[in-house]
C-alpha cells in the first residue's frame, strides 16, 4: 500500500492564505452588519423626530421635512439590512 505523504511545509502557507482570505471575508460581512445596525439605530431617532413633529408641529408644512427625512433614511436602512443579512 502506498502511503500518502503530505508535505506540510509546502502546503501550509496555502492553507494559511486561504484562512486569511476567509477571515477577511467574514470581517467584511461583520462590518457590513455592524454598519447596518448602526444605521437602524439612527433611523429610530429619525422616526422619533417624525413622531414628535406629528404631535408637536400642527401644520403639514412643518411636518413634511421630518416625514421625508424618515422615509428616506428608513428605506436606506432597509436596503442596508437586507444586504448585510441576506435571506
Amino acid at each position: 500500500m502506498n502511503l500518502v505523504s503530505h508535505e506540510y511545509k509546502d502546503t501550509e502557507p496555502v492553507a494559511v492564505a486561504e484562512l486569511s482570505i476567509r477571515l477577511k471575508g467574514n470581517t467584511q460581512v461583520s462590518n457590513d452588519q455592524k454598519a447596518s445596525i448602526k444605521q437602524y439605530i439612527a433611523v429610530l431617532d429619525s422616526m422619533s423626530n417624525a413622531f414628535d413633529a406629528a404631535t408637536e408641529k400642527p401644520t403639514a408644512k412643518e411636518l413634511l421635512p421630518d416625514v421625508r427625512d424618515f422615509a428616506k433614511q428608513a428605506r436606506n436602512v432597509y436596503q442596508s439590512l437586507a444586504k448585510a443579512f441576506p435571506k
Binding site: T59, A60, K61, L64, V67, R68, A71, R75
Partner: protein, 133 residues
Amino acid sequence: MAIDVNPTEDEMDELHDELKAFEAQLANYLSSEAGEKDPNYTSLTKMDIQLNLQIYNLSINQLQLAGENSGAAVDAINSAINNLKEVIAVKAKIATDLGVAQSAISFVTALLSGNPSSIVNAGGTFVSKLKAT
C-alpha cells in the same frame, strides 16, 4: 403550470425611483415661493406626506399579485413607470397638480393592496391624468 408574473426586485426598485422622482418634484415645488402661494398648498403638502409614507411602505414590501388580472396589473405598473419617466422629464410641474397627485396616491394605495384589478384601474387613471395634464 402557474406563471409568476410578480415584478422582480429590480422592477420594484425602478418603480420606487420613478415614484420618488414624482414626489421630489412635488416637494421642491412646495418649498418654493410659488408653491407656498399655491391655493392648494395645504392639500398638496398633506398628499406629499402620504406619498412619502406609502412609497416607503411599497419599497419594503415585495409585491405579491395573485388572480386572473395579475398580468394586466403588471402591464399597468409598467405603463405607469414609462409614463412617469417621460412626463417627469418633460413637464416640470406635473406632480403639483392636485388631481395628478391624488391619482398617484390612489395608484400606490392600490399597489399596496396587491389587488390586481385595483392596480389596473388606479394605474389606468394615473396614466390618463399624467397624459392629460
